[in-house]
């Protein structure tokens, strides 16, 4: 099964639609709730990252009987220093994003913590591609 979602940059009201839909699908498939929570927290963090830091992007989720693969791509501006972005507490989030309750510098580290495999690639002014896998 493949699910695809568009993510609008800057629109916090729409953030969470993809993770909510994926949560419903995984529940219907009877996946262990503890594994579902890890997956949807990672998907939600990724969605919020695209909304908070990019001009927008897309999220693709492939689900089969043994695992879920999620790929999130955005159209820029890209991450200057990925190592720094992976550091707990480091954030470039705006005041507006912080007022929404995000931007604590926990997003990427929390995605890594909640997934079995994670890779991130970024090119300045082109965009960022984040992929992760969770096995059931």
């Amino acid at each position: 099964m493949e699910l695809k979602f568009d993510i609008v940059g800057g629109d916090f009201n729409l953030a969470g639609r993809a993770s909510s839909k994926i949560k419903k699908v995984l529940k219907q498939l009877g996946i262990d709730p503890k594994i579902i929570k890890r997956i949807v927290v990672a998907v939600y963090e990724a969605e919020v990252n695209v909304v908070a830091h990019s001009v927008g992007g897309r999220l693709f989720a492939q689900i089969n009987s043994s695992e879920i693969n999620v790929r999130v791509v955005d159209d820029g501006p890209g991450i200057t220093n990925i190592e720094q972005a992976m550091t707990v507490g480091f954030s470039t989030a705006s005041k507006e994003v912080r007022e929404m309750g995000f931007g604590a510098g926990m997003g990427l580290p929390n995605i890594k913590k909640n997934t079995d495999e994670m890779t991130i690639e970024s090119e300045l002014e082109k965009g960022t591609s984040l992929s992760f896998t969770n096995r059931f």
Binding site: F12, G16, S20, V48, M100, G101, F102, A104
Partner: protein
């Protein structure tokens, strides 16, 4: 602790949910930072917060947190109420500060997450 006791102790109004819901709350976490809420591993807790926006409801949905206590007299928006109903989140509004609500609940046996 059940929902009606939680509401009575914090002088809260139950905006979404049934006061007779059989859920028993054992722990609480107080934060306005959703990034921190998303790092929690405990379930069956009440989130005590002063943040009243749609992302609060989305965050508790993903974090499997069943009960939210809005403090500092913050009011839930219609969008928040509708989403909480759809997901099955119990939502309360208290006039207490986060400190006071946390203190009262702690005094009455609610444990911290860490």
């Amino acid at each position: 602790m059940n929902i009606s006791d939680l509401a009575e102790l914090t002088e809260a109004k139950i905006v979404v949910g049934d006061p007779k819901d059989p859920i028993q709350i054992e722990r609480a976490f107080s934060s306005d930072f959703m990034s921190d809420v998303l790092t929690l591993e405990n379930h069956m807790l009440v989130l005590i917060t002063g943040l009243a926006n749609l992302q609060l409801i989305r965050t508790v949905e993903m974090a499997d947190i069943p009960v939210v206590l809005l403090c500092r007299n913050k009011k839930a928006t219609q969008e928040m109420i509708e989403l909480a109903k759809e997901i099955g989140i119990i939502l309360l509004e208290s006039p207490f500060s986060i400190f006071r609500a946390s203190g009262v609940l702690y005094q009455n046996g609610i444990k911290p997450v860490y």
